[in-house]
Structure formats: structure tokens, C-alpha cells
């Protein structure tokens, strides 16, 4: 499953669409946390993060962790400056009204795993 297929499957709102080509590479895992120190230490390379943390540092930490994209749960959205930074850095950002628990459950059912 790549980012485009994930967006279609979960009905996500696309905030920044970097790296979201229909023939883009498959996601290699997923992670859920609101503590960015934890994301930095444990998120899988080329994975997707599910979080309610909307601080600008989500983008910087995603770059360091090598994440492909971030889903913001529960209707939360990072501000315009963070979205612009994500576009510059090549990090795809998505938003959903659903709680993180439900999003992670769906991603798991689609085959993504946290330990890769």
C-alpha cells in the first residue's frame, strides 16, 4: 500500500501531497505517538505516523525519522507554516476527523505494522 492507496482507503483529507504518486513506493510500517521524542527514536523508515500533535516540529522529526507521511487525527491540523515546511521537506500530511485508535486499526487491517 502506498500513500495514494492509503488516502483512498481511509478517506483522508490531503494537506500536502508530496510523494503521493499513484505508482509511489509502498509504505513500510506505521507508528502512533504524540511524543515526538518517541517518534524520533522508534518510528519506522518510510512509514506513516498517526498523531494529534500538530506542532511544527512534527515536520522536522518526520524528516529525521525518514517518515513518508503523517495523519493528524480527530480533526486537528497543523498551521499553514508547518504545512509549507512539510511541502518543502517532502513530507505528505493528511487529516481525518476520526480518532487515532480507529485510524490505526484500519491501517493495521490494511497490512501495516508498527514493528518492522
Amino acid at each position: 500500500m502506498n500513500l495514494k492507496e492509503m488516502v483512498d482507503a481511509l478517506g483522508l483529507e490531503v494537506l500536502t501531497a508530496e510523494g503521493m504518486a499513484a505508482d509511489g513506493p509502498d509504505l513500510e510500517g506505521g507508528y502512533a505517538s504524540d511524543l515526538l521524542s518517541d517518534v524520533l527514536a522508534h518510528a519506522p523508515q518510510h512509514g506513516v505516523l498517526v498523531t494529534v500533535q500538530v506542532h511544527m516540529n512534527v515536520v522536522a522529526v518526520s524528516v529525521h525519522a525518514g517518515l513518508a507521511g503523517v495523519i493528524f487525527a480527530l480533526g486537528r491540523k497543523p498551521d499553514a507554516a508547518a504545512q509549507a515546511r512539510a511541502a518543502e521537506e517532502g513530507i505528505a500530511l493528511f487529516a481525518s476527523e476520526e480518532p487515532a485508535f480507529d485510524l490505526v486499526g484500519k491501517l493495521y487491517a490494511l497490512g501495516l505494522r508498527g514493528s518492522v
Binding site: 511524543l35 524520533l40 522536522a60
Partner: protein
């Protein structure tokens, strides 16, 4: 130039997680016993017990009006204000974003408003242990707008710190200082933060009377005022501060 010993981060019984024995007179006495010249009262998301501690302390120890804000990212930021009015105004802005409290005793404990004698006047009207509606950047701006100094609290700790919540220090944040916990100073963890370029202080984040004397920072400056502390943090005119 004089030498002052300071603990710029102590709580009172108004902080839900602090011991109810942290009354204004007990806190003032503990500060004197610990040899402190200066403390900053920094309850969670409120400054409403500061005036009582100042009255209880009298001339025995100087009391800075402070507040420890919980940002929307659950980062703790200490604000040190020029006076009670400024701290109170900032505290009112923060308080307006917190859930209302039914005044019940919670798992976090009671949030007790007290007078200078340590008598209980009532309980906080807001849930002080909650995260405020102010982002980290907005919190620093709020503190500065009220003439205060913004200090990133216990940056070496694995909870409620800039580093634990945000992974990295965000670019462009105008902290006036960063605080290393007392345990962090003992363990030499300050070295990892020296490269950030912020002045470093320590404070004990005292929630119990026995912790008031830990985490002392020595200030070499002229007088016991917030303006002098600001000059000292910038190293102006030969002023300096260091872990005591």
C-alpha cells in the same frame, strides 16, 4: 555586585500535584532554612498564591511572581514576571483556556488557594493540571507580552519538557533561559544542552517542602529584581549565574 542564591521554580499547595503542606508560611520558612535569598513561585497555570507567599515571606526572602504554563503540546514553560499584577494577568489568560473545575478532590490532589497565614481560602476554579490552549510559541509570546522571562522547564526530563514532547528544540524560540533539573545537574546532563546557546539555570521544581533547598542557582548581580535577573542571564556588565 552581590551574590544571591535562588530557586526559581517552586510550587505551592495550589498546584494539584504539590503537597498540601506547601503553605505560604511553610514555603517561606523552608526557603530561609535552605539559605535562599530568592524563590520564584510557579504553580501550574496560575499565579493566585503568589501574593500570599510574598506576604508570608516579608523581607526574609524575595519572592518572584511566576507561573508554570502547560502548553497545548504539554510542554512546561516557566514564566517569571515583574510583579503579581503581571503574573495574574497572564494567569487569567491561561486560566480562561482550562476546563472549569467542580472543586472535587482529584487523583492529582487538591488545588488550594491560601492566605499568608496558610489558611485555606478555597479551591481553584479551573482544572490546573490540564493543558492550556496556548501553544509553545504563544506561551512564550504571552509571557513576554506581560514583561516576563520565559524559561523552558526541566529540559532534561522525559516528561513535560520541550525535548520529550517535541523531540528537538524548535527553531526560533525566544527562551530567556532553559532550566536543567536538580537531578540533571547532579548527573551532568546540562552538557547536552550547552550547544543550544541559551543561558542555563537550575531549580528544584519543589512539590514538597524537603525539595525547596535543592536545585539552587547562584546569581552575581546588583539587586533582587527581575530586571537584574534578565541582565544576569544575558551576562551584562559582568553579572553571571551558575549552578550553586
Amino acid at each position: 555586585m552581590k551574590t544571591f542564591r535562588a530557586n526559581l521554580h517552586v510550587h505551592t499547595a495550589l498546584s494539584p500535584c504539590a503537597d498540601d503542606a506547601m503553605t505560604p508560611p511553610a514555603l517561606a520558612e523552608a526557603a530561609v532554612v535552605a539559605g535562599l535569598d530568592l524563590i520564584a513561585v510557579c504553580d501550574h497555570n496560575t499565579a493566585d498564591n503568589v501574593a500570599a507567599v510574598q506576604a508570608a515571606a516579608g523581607a526574609a526572602v524575595a519572592v518572584i511572581a511566576g507561573m508554570e504554563v502547560t502548553t497545548s503540546e504539554e510542554v512546561h514553560v516557566v514564566g517569571l514576571f515583574p510583579d503579581v499584577a503581571a503574573a495574574g494577568a497572564a494567569g487569567a489568560a491561561v486560566g480562561a483556556t482550562l476546563p472549569e473545575s467542580a472543586g472535587d478532590t482529584t487523583a492529582y490532589g487538591d488545588a488550594l488557594l491560601m492566605d499568608a497565614g496558610g489558611q485555606v481560602l478555597g479551591k481553584a476554579a479551573r482544572v490546573l493540571s490540564a493543558a492550556s490552549g496556548f501553544s509553545l510559541e504563544a506561551t512564550v509570546a504571552l509571557i513576554h507580552a506581560h514583561g516576563g522571562l520565559a524559561v523552558a522547564a526541566h529540559v532534561d526530563r522525559p516528561s513535560f519538557s520541550v525535548t520529550s514532547q517535541l523531540g528537538l528544540f524548535p527553531e526560533g524560540l525566544r527562551f530567556d533561559a532553559i532550566e536543567i533539573s536538580a537531578a540533571g545537574v547532579r548527573a551532568g546532563r546540562d552538557a547536552a544542552f550547552a550547544g543550544l546557546g541559551f543561558p542555563m539555570i537550575t531549580g528544584s521544581d519543589a512539590h514538597f517542602l524537603c525539595e525547596v533547598g535543592a536545585g539552587q542557582t547562584t546569581f552575581e548581580m546588583d539587586t533582587l529584581t527581575l530586571a537584574e535577573i534578565a541582565l544576569t542571564l544575558r551576562g551584562a556588565g559582568g553579572r553571571r549565574c551558575y549552578f550553586a
